[in-house]
């Protein structure tokens, strides 16, 4: 029975790994191909099946004047917008979540849970519903086609994630820890900064990771709210596609765009297993 279990477990893991990793390997080999190798039948192994070349990668960094597409600027735009919006969302979201977790709000029939749900409802709504209001809003304050405008919109999209994760997390941090900090001479702000926050690092990391992922992969709003001045990476990658699909540079750019997320995931995974609240309350 045990052996069967182990077999099934590993069988599943192997199948899933192949399922997830295979597209990356496919993209990796394709990125080193040229027109002939892509259209000349199924080939996998460089130097044996086909002659690899760096054309697909070179195109990405060449300026358009020299026949390239230059994804460097959109890359940094994406990074700037995602990181700034995530950071602001985490800061505002964490503060809101702490307030929602610890204090009782009441405005007519609106209570804490309703406020939390309002935040989440921003994510439940289909993005298309929000696109027109966002467009009109940004155009009225002259922020269409700008990094700042995108950051504002992304905060609206990312903050609910931060609030949602952090409310849940703070609810699990015993209130008595805050109270003990107050008794030990902290004012409420110090109690939050010195005691509650350091014990919420795993939650902050998870929330930060989700914000970065959802910010980084957004195509829809970047597509609708920018035109010529500012371009984000996902939009640029799609724009690569012209009359002839350049599979090699599409593959290369796809790999480049996924890379930061993979790196973030590997770093964060280590922190997530560390530090928990098990000793706070038994």
């Amino acid at each position: 029975m045990d052996k069967l279990y182990i077999f099934l477990k590993y069988f599943f893991i192997v199948v899933w790994t192949v399922f997830v990793v295979a597209p990356f390997l496919w993209a990796l080999t394709t990125s080193f191909k040229d027109f002939q190798s892509v259209n000349g039948g199924v080939t996998y192994i460089p130097w044996v099946d086909f002659e690899p070349n760096l054309e697909g990668w070179k195109v990405l960094i060449k300026s358009p004047a020299k026949g390239g597409v230059d994804i460097i600027e959109p890359y940094f735009n994406s990074m700037f917008v995602t990181c700034t919006a995530s950071l602001i969302s985490i800061i505002l979201g964490t503060l809101s979540a702490y307030a929602l977790s610890r204090y009782t709000f009441k405005a007519g029939f609106v209570k804490n849970n309703d406020i939390t749900f309002f935040f989440i409802s921003q994510r439940i709504m289909p993005p298309i519903v929000l696109s027109i209001p966002f467009f009109l809003f940004l155009s009225s304050i002259n922020l269409l086609d700008s990094l700042t405008g995108l950051i504002v919109v992304y905060i609206v999209l990312l903050m609910p994630i931060a609030v949602w994760i952090m409310v849940d997390f703070f609810n699990k941090v015993p209130r008595e820890i805050d109270e003990t900090a107050l008794i030990d001479g902290c004012n409420p702000y110090q109690a939050f900064l010195k005691v509650v926050l350091p014990n919420s690092i795993p939650g902050l990391i998870v929330a930060g990771m989700f914000c970065i992922i959802f910010g980084w992969i957004d195509f829809f709003f970047a597509f609708i709210l920018t035109f010529t001045e500012v371009q984000l990476l996902p939009v640029k990658i799609v724009a690569l596609n012209s009359s002839v699909t350049p599979w090699w540079s599409l593959s290369a750019s796809a790999l480049v765009s996924v890379a930061p997320l993979i790196i973030v995931a590997f770093i964060v995974e280590r922190y997530l297993s560390k530090g928990n609240l098990s000793g706070a309350i038994k």
């Binding site: 008595e176 008794i183 001479g185 014990n199 309350i281």
Partner: protein, 359 residues
């Protein structure tokens, strides 16, 4: 420096958590708040700490209006029944936390923390993570953190309740030593508990609390000898005092066909609706006694608790040895009536073997 409260009331919902509570706590004394779960003990301690604001009433400390001073400036210390420490700090940092908050010189902090560690018996543990400690050790850390501050008011909210039996005994002993070592000289110690035995052992001034109301105030001995009402008799005894509905006439106590000669302190009572109170330890097994049926027998430590029944009368007997009984066994018992209490129809003490009348 007295801590004086006047008519504290707190009623967040339908029920009073505190109902007109008044007290006058004096420096250098230990006060035990005895009450069942949800009787308002924690609410009272949190109100003193400043974590809760009462709806009504005043608290004064050292002549100052305490309610106007925020928690973090009150110089109180509190130990919770859950073992509350800062999980992100190690043992040393946990204990040093309140001192660092006061921006005290590091060398003085080191010295004080080491002293505190020594007094709770945790020397050598200073670099451990909180998660690596047992429940008892965690509670010691939180005790050390409250000792190190030299707080004027030390609040202990059922600090032993979540520990296992052996640790509880051990730590209770240490508490007693700490309290008597002069720690209490300059502070007011307030200790809440559900356990009457703890109250007796700590031997301070006792406040019996129920449904947010103070039922009786007195020394442990006074509460034990003369509980002023049925409620107090129940709360201050574990197992609760047996209450028997009986008739007293012609120098005799009669119930369930049992006829006992009334002791002198009960013989003059004539009113109707009297209830007789008798501690479970004041009933003994006796071959020539009265027959009761065993409903349940539980062994607790080195004691056997017998739940007995005869007609409509149910009583609990504690026997200082481990005995095996089966349900529906018949046992014979004797009542030490000279140790019996009498309560009148509205639950007030009518007569006690120790001579107290109506508290």
């Amino acid at each position: 420096m007295d801590l004086v409260a006047n008519n504290l009331s707190y009623k967040p919902g339908d029920q009073y958590h505190l109902n007109e509570v008044s007290f006058n706590f004096k420096e250098g004394n230990l006060y035990t708040i005895l009450g069942r779960t949800l009787s308002g003990k924690t609410t009272l301690l949190k109100t003193i700490a400043g974590l809760l604001t009462p709806d009504n009433g005043e608290i004064e400390f050292d002549g100052k209006n305490f309610l106007k001073i925020p928690v973090w400036e009150r110089n109180v210390a509190m130990v919770y029944q859950q073992f509350i420490n800062y999980p992100h700090l190690n043992v040393f940092e946990n204990i040093a936390f309140p001192l660092k908050q006061r921006k005290i010189n590091q060398s003085i902090i080191n010295e004080k923390v080491m002293d505190a560690l020594k007094s709770v018996g945790l020397l050598g543990y200073e670099n451990r993570r909180i998660q690596e400690l047992s429940g008892g050790q965690q509670q010691r850390v939180s005790l050390a953190r409250s000792l190190v501050k030299n707080a004027k008011i030390l609040l202990l909210d059922e600090p032993l309740v979540n520990l296992d039996y052996k640790l509880r005994e051990q730590l209770r002993e240490e508490f007693k030593n700490l309290f008597s070592k002069g720690l209490a000289d300059k502070s007011i110690l307030i200790y809440s508990t559900t356990d009457p035995r703890e109250t007796m052992e700590l031997n301070g001034e006792v406040i019996v609390l129920d449904e947010g109301k103070v039922l009786q105030v007195g020394t442990a001995k006074e509460i034990f000898e003369n509980p002023n009402s049925l409620k107090v008799a129940e709360i201050s005894n574990d197992p609760p005092m047996n209450i028997i509905e009986a008739k007293i006439s012609d120098n005799h106590i009669r119930f369930e066909g049992i006829d006992l000669e009334a002791p002198q302190h009960l013989s003059k009572l004539t009113e109707d609706g009297l209830k007789i109170g008798l501690r479970s330890s004041d009933i003994e097994l006796n071959e020539n006694g009265h027959e009761f049926e065993v409903e349940l027998a539980e062994i607790s430590g080195s004691e056997t608790l017998l739940h007995l029944k005869r007609g409509d009368t149910k009583i609990i007997v504690s026997i200082e040895e481990v005995l095996n009984f089966k349900i529906h066994d018949k046992v014979k018992i004797n009542f030490k009536v000279d140790r019996a209490y009498a309560f009148n129809a509205n639950g007030k003490l009518a007569s006690s073997p120790f001579g107290g009348l109506n508290g």
